[in-house]
């Protein structure tokens, strides 16, 4: 990609983060109530008011999940957007990340100074699994939900790498234990054991029930601002050091579903922008989109944290534990809370919380740089950002 000579982007700071307590069904609030809860928490964190917001960028996954077409129209009032620009993004499962990147561009381009970005899903309004199962003739009648789509690619990974069958359960057990330290996580399974994960029902071989993300209601919001906004912020800011999106087709001859090229390219672009040459050493915490346990070792390789075929060894040896040298999903990740449209933004926000030193009990000590990652569609849409505790170039 070319770059314009003489054009300098405004550095982008994350100064407010808010999310809802993710649960199976928020029957106590409307869709508007859900998004407003997250937005107000982000504003409170930034100590700003609705009047300080210049524009709103909102994302969510398919509208069928709530049965509301283009819900940003109905949500304009709840998001304080009346009289302001309101932009709706939808890039499948990566949307939470993409939405944050579109918002960041508005600040980077100096179109706006302070932008509220938010993503949500209220999955209890419908049945997400069947919402993801397209009717004939759009898809072969073999797939039931996302698990049916991704399980064959997990099996391909296992065959390709010879990874032991237990690796998936290690990821699930780790993420669900991490979630106990995150008050916003959906699943708090205090009595879970590794044996229980390994004995849980098989859903889509080799993906077991306890290795599968839940279906959640939840929202996540962030306030992004420029340098002047960051100077006024009451708490430490996280800074965007790099951000990128990459897409490739759903199906084509030669597609590598195990390690898609779009994911590799996206990571390479983000690392280049952030000046990172050795991600394993230079990144202190990772929040990656792992809806099925095996995607942790798969993405470790795709994102350049491990050589091809070596990702599962990092997982197996404890490197990705909260106290390992590359903690992955300290928040508990998508395996512990999955409001689909919001899940990518939660990854981005949790990465920012880490470098702000505000992740609470699941804080990685001394985290200075963190990666937020999201993917969607048929492993074809990727969005990522690297955030740091220091302003870029500082």
């Amino acid at each position: 990609m070319s770059s314009a000579a003489g054009t300098t982007k405004e550095p982008v700071a994350i100064v407010g983060i808010g999310q809802t307590r993710h649960v199976a069904a928020r029957r106590d609030v409307s869709i508007a109530g859900l998004v407003r809860e997250a937005a107000q928490r982000a504003l409170q964190d930034a100590e700003l008011t609705w009047q300080d917001i210049d524009a709103v960028v909102i994302g969510k996954a398919p509208d069928f999940f709530e049965g509301v077409m283009m819900p940003e129209l109905y949500l304009a009032d709840a998001l304080g957007a009346v009289g302001k620009p309101l932009l709706r993004v939808h890039t499948a499962g990566s949307v939470g990340g993409s939405t944050a990147l579109v918002a960041a561009d508005l600040v980077a381009a100096r179109v706006h100074r302070t932008v509220l970005t938010l993503a949500f899903e209220k999955q209890s309004e419908s049945n997400a699994m069947w919402g993801l199962s397209l009717p004939v003739p759009f898809q072969q009648p073999l797939l039931a939900g996302a698990g049916g789509f991704f399980a064959p690619h997990v099996r391909a990974y296992m065959r390709r790498t010879g990874a032991p069958a237990t690796v998936g359960s290690l990821v699930a057990y780790k993420d669900r234990r991490n979630a106990l330290k995150n008050p916003y996580a959906h699943l708090h399974e205090h009595d879970l054991t590794l044996e229980k994960v390994q004995a849980s029902p098989m859903l889509w071989d080799p993906v077991r029930y306890s290795e599968t993300c839940p279906s959640s209601d939840g929202a996540c919001a962030m306030v992004l601002t420029d340098r002047a906004g960051a100077r006024r912020a009451p708490r430490p800011a996280a800074w965007v050091h790099g951000g990128a999106m990459r897409s490739e087709p759903t199906l084509f001859a030669g597609k590598d579903f195990v390690s898609p090229q779009a994911g590799k390219d996206c990571a390479a672009a983000v690392y280049r922008q952030a000046g990172i040459t050795d991600p394993r050493r230079e990144i202190d915490a990772v929040e990656m989109y792992v809806p099925f346990s095996w995607y942790e070792p798969m993405w470790l390789e795709n994102l350049g944290f491990a050589a091809p075929g070596e990702g599962w060894k990092l997982t197996e040896s404890g490197v990705t534990e909260l106290d390992g040298d590359l903690p992955v999903n300290p928040s508990g990740g998508v395996l512990s809370a999955n409001p689909i449209g919001a899940s990518g933004m939660i990854r981005f926000a949790e990465a920012a919380l880490q470098v702000r030193g505000q992740a609470g009990e699941h804080q990685v000590p001394g985290a200075r740089r963190a990666l937020g990652h999201a993917y969607g569609g048929g492993s074809q849409f990727f969005s990522m950002w690297v955030v740091g505790a220091d302003a870029p170039g500082a």
Binding site: F64, V68, A76, V82, A108, P249
Partner: protein, 367 residues
């Protein structure tokens, strides 16, 4: 008021160094719009349009720095419908790409911002809609407040009629004037080879009083695409780029009961923010699916009789949902490219009764 982007109204600060990047529409293509395209998929509908627009710009898909599209799953009747439309782009090797779940004019806005950051020199924007897949009047009711309004199924024509009646009650128009808007649009559309409804069209019986069938848009399947480029790249790709002097969009409240339906303050604010009021425009392409909405927009944007309105025929001649707004920008750019306009306003809308509005100001190279 500034032609360059700035902070929202009411925010006193001005950015330290406003962006000074020139960005232009360098190519535009659209399908021949039809009532029903059942024989082709969305990807097949798009493919020739994308080939056309890239051919005009002399670019291959892989040479585009950023791609952004607009479409709606509810029109397609299935989740993630845009993922398969991506096949028409040929996103291999992987591309930097995004999608908005609304009219493609907002996809163009996202691409414009990407070019403003300096991270891209060129962008491909496309949009499509196949309203024939369902009953679009019923489908659009799903846009409404899901708790208090959508259960009543007030359809898009009924809501537009409510708005038209308010306009007539305010003394701003009458049924004869609305019929005149419709007739002028279809007469102009006769010169537009892509239009669906052209020439003398019977004004017909009431669809929903006071709107006659002639006041309403056709139900349309279609697609459109635009190539954007920055600075000297635009000059290299195009003899006469249509420079985007400013662009902005604003939303209003969703509840119809709290809005003055006879006015469009969000369109006016977007126009002001886009710099439309600094100098008069000679042409306006307004995304007004109903004749009455053209009247509202002309009043809100203070477009007098000297301004040529919708020379393409507008949405009353072809209304491929999710592409209609992008087509307004493309049509305005094309008139500038042909030398038929020096300064044009392009407008797009989304939501019931003009809830959300986008305005772009385009100009030819100063001569």
């Amino acid at each position: 008021m500034s032609a360059t982007p700035g902070p929202a109204a009411g925010t006193p600060q001005v950015p330290d160094t406003p962006p000074a990047r020139e960005i232009a529409v360098v190519a535009f293509a659209q399908s021949d719009h039809t009532r029903d395209s059942a024989e082709v998929s969305e990807a097949e509908l798009l493919l020739p349009v994308l080939q056309d627009v890239l051919g005009q710009a002399g670019l291959r898909a892989g040479e585009i720095d950023f791609t952004c599209s607009g479409s709606s799953d509810y029109l397609a009747g299935r989740a993630f419908s845009f993922t398969m439309a991506l096949d028409s782009v040929g996103a291999w090797p992987p591309i930097a790409e995004s999608h908005v779940e609304t009219d493609g004019a907002w996809a163009l806005y996202e691409a414009w911002v990407k070019l403003l950051t300096g991270d891209a020199e060129t962008a491909l924007v496309y949009a499509y809609g196949k309203s024939s897949s369902g009953e679009v009047r019923d489908v659009l009711t799903r846009q409404l407040d899901p708790y208090y309004v959508a259960p009543l199924w007030p359809d898009s024509v009924a809501l537009a009629a409510l708005q038209a009646q308010a306009l007539i009650d305010a003394g701003a128009t009458d049924e004869a004037a609305l019929a005149g808007v419709a007739a002028r649009s279809r007469a102009d559309a006769a010169a537009n080879p892509h239009a669906q409804l052209t020439g003398p069209v019977p004004h017909g019986p009431y669809a929903v009083r006071p709107l006659h069938t002639g006041d309403c848009p056709p139900v349309t399947d279609g697609a459109a695409a635009v190539v954007l480029a920055a600075g000297d790249t635009a000059r290299r790709l195009c003899d006469r780029p249509a420079w985007i002097r400013g662009m902005d969009h604003r939303t209003e409240a969703h509840g119809l009961g709290v809005r003055d339906l006879t006015d469009s303050p969000s369109a006016r604010l977007a126009a002001e923010r886009a710099g439309a009021c600094e100098r008069p425009v000679d042409t306006a392409e307004l995304h007004a699916p109903f004749s009455s909405q053209e009247v509202i927009l002309r009043r809100a944007l203070r477009l007098d009789d000297a301004v040529r309105i919708n020379p393409s025929g507008g949405a009353l001649a072809a209304n491929p949902m999710m592409a209609t707004g992008l087509i307004r920008i493309g049509e305005a750019a094309q008139r500038i490219g042909r030398g038929d306009s020096r300064r044009a306003l392009a407008h797009a809308t989304s939501g019931p009764c003009l809830q959300q509005n986008l305005v772009a100001v385009l100009e030819g190279e100063p001569r």
